[in-house]
Symmetry: C3
Subunit: 299 residues, 3 copies
């Protein structure tokens, strides 16, 4: 959290701040804190891209803290009259909003909004840059599972690393928390500078999964296939999908995460998505507590 | 209400449970109960089809009971990314939602959701199967009008019976409450097995209206004409529409209902829709009280 | 405000009522009144046209007064099934709504709704007729700036007067409050009867700006160019746009208003829109207080 109290990304966030957010999220998750800290405040969801989980999760979290939630989407708004992001954000802020939660297709959009308005801004996903509340809820889900100890755990992050804002937020959070990371995906979907960041990188899924305590499967956007970035859905599943057989070969206590929505049969077999190892729905449950902690921290 | 506390349909609901719901709705309608029984709870409207009345009615009812209402529609959601109904429902439930109110174009969708999630589910219309809260509010509207006595009243249900989930819910509720039912419509729009259910069936509207204490006109979907299921709008109105002349020939105290939105001049003449016999807007008013009773019962 | 407690337009509203609304808005703006006068009530936004500012402003105002806000839009509603405005409004009113706030593309739509329903109605913009809450917030923004004295101030209203409901509401409010008005725009966009209303009219922008204490720039709808109502965006900006040079030539203390969203570089240069004279975002801030006063007055 910067002095201006935004959450734009997890890059550079000190470990102590990360741990404070996870601890506070845990208090919300366990029902140890129930105050309506945002009573009488207005929180605005400003979403330029479709979303179920993130928008609804922030709405439930903010409403649970007593805020009124203003939902703004491109459809039916003045953006359809050609208004710019900055003008829209300034106008929403002028309504007396305390926090703007923004999702936008362009990297840097949330930072641009933060520079333009006087209220707090939370990045709910900007292009291929970051999705910090997702990174936090993923980290919290592992933190909770492992009794607060992430140091030296081994986490594989698998899929379209190149285009994934979730992967970038996970990288920054988990690295700061002492996790040993290995990134895996088709060579066309692995950023070339990754290995300079002190993480392992491989194109071989079995190498990545070997010894993993957790596997984070990323969503593949099917339109990437038409960009010739990977051969076909069937071949992708075979080479980089978490098949039932691969999941069976994981360490007994290893867990599987996915930010959703899952492409069943593409990056994950349905049996694994719904199986014992899967923490996918727990990620969603934990998201409410994490976002309450984030909203409280920026307010 | 089953043990798992859903409301998926009215078929098989015991008369005592129906009467309890109507009595409780009446207490809400008369302002005898005002508690905020759902304070701190979240209720989600999950609508895959357009709706004004039903979605808004559940929203006003739930908010009146103190719940936060999460509105989810296909537009702008992860369903546009190809997520299945079950995955969407599981994710919404994982947000900590107490009740999912679902409308979907496929019969059985609400039951599928109920089997998939841990929270309560209310069917707000599934394909051509049932629309139980509409059936209850129709029954309550008559119950209120007739001072709680439905036994041996004669109710005609007229129109596209074949495709109508409202007709099916009305059938189950009113039959259980002792009403004598007659169904009427074009032969192409009358299900063949209807007469086996112990109700009268006729294609002649004047026969159906003879002696009726109430007439429920169903909405005709205009696209059915192009399926050659009835000849033309004008001919439909002439043969199966409640014209001003036909309404004038009803018993003096007979009432007219319609689930809305009305096709004026098709199934109902405008004079009848807005006339003395019409309970159409009272149905909408009663819907709030009925849905409060339903939300309370499943929570 | 009429006896039936609607706000359909500012035409004919007595000066004393206008001044009461501005004074009450000022109490809300200064935080001198904080009651939740609409607690337990439902207020419905019924918008047939896209909107960010107006819809959100009414939502924040109503929620701040404790009301539940029901948002209704054409998309995903029964209007997509062909329901008429009057039937939709009657049904929304039957849900127990206290105030319907309606925006519609046809002049007279709000009055039609007011004649059809039993609840209060606020016009949030009807075709080319009026947009009274915008007229009030514009008047309040000047009133606040000028310490409550509008008498004999000179205000220029510039742009597409012919099609502007904002210009019409401004005309009625500001004239009643003693402002000296001058209207300016291309000859094709100036209604011929304007001069009969006791206001100055000119096609020369420099004439209009001479001695102005405030300039209200109206939004140009770009599609008017294709109707041959003005030559091109560049030429419009040159002849009727508030350029940086023209703004510099205004009286030192003169202010600039715009109802938004701004077409930067068309009716206003970006430097002027974001400059010292601009009250554009303050208009948005003031809108909340003004709409609270309006909601309270009609409830």
């Amino acid at each position: 959290m910067t002095a201006r109290r935004h959450l734009l990304g997890l890059e550079g966030l000190p470990r102590t701040e990360l741990e404070q957010l996870l601890s506070r999220a845990h208090e919300y998750r366990e029902g140890r804190v129930g105050g309506r800290h945002l009573s009488g405040r207005v929180v605005a969801n400003v979403f330029y891209e479709p979303s179920t989980r993130t928008r609804s999760s922030f709405e439930v979290a903010a409403a649970g803290l007593g805020a009124h939630v203003l939902n703004w989407t491109v459809t039916g708004s003045s953006a359809s009259k050609g208004e710019t992001l900055v003008d829209t954000a300034k106008n929403i802020a002028a309504l007396g909003v305390s926090v703007i939660i923004v999702r936008h297709q362009h990297s840097g959009a949330a930072a641009l909004v933060a520079r333009s308005v006087g209220c707090s801004v939370i990045n709910a996903g900007d292009g291929q840059h970051e999705h910090p509340s997702q990174g936090l809820l993923d980290a919290y889900t592992l933190w909770r599972r492992w009794g607060g100890v992430l140091e030296n755990k081994r986490v594989a992050i698998v899929g379209d690393i190149l285009h994934s804002r979730v992967a970038r937020s996970n990288l920054h959070a988990l690295k700061a928390l002492g996790v040993k990371l290995v990134f895996c995906g088709p060579p066309t979907l692995l950023p070339s500078h990754l290995s300079q960041l002190g993480v392992d990188v491989t194109t071989e899924l079995d190498v990545a999964l070997n010894g993993a305590d957790a596997v984070m499967m990323l969503r593949i956007q099917k339109e990437r296939a038409s960009e010739a970035l990977f051969p076909s859905a069937a071949e992708y599943h075979q080479r980089w999908g978490l098949t039932t057989a691969r999941a069976a070969a994981l360490k007994p206590e290893a867990v599987v995460l996915h930010p959703g929505p899952v492409n069943r049969g593409l990056e994950l077999s349905p049996e694994v998505a719904d199986g014992q190892r899967s923490l996918i729905l727990e990620q969603v449950e934990n998201g409410i507590a994490v976002r309450k902690a984030v909203l409280e921290a920026v307010s």
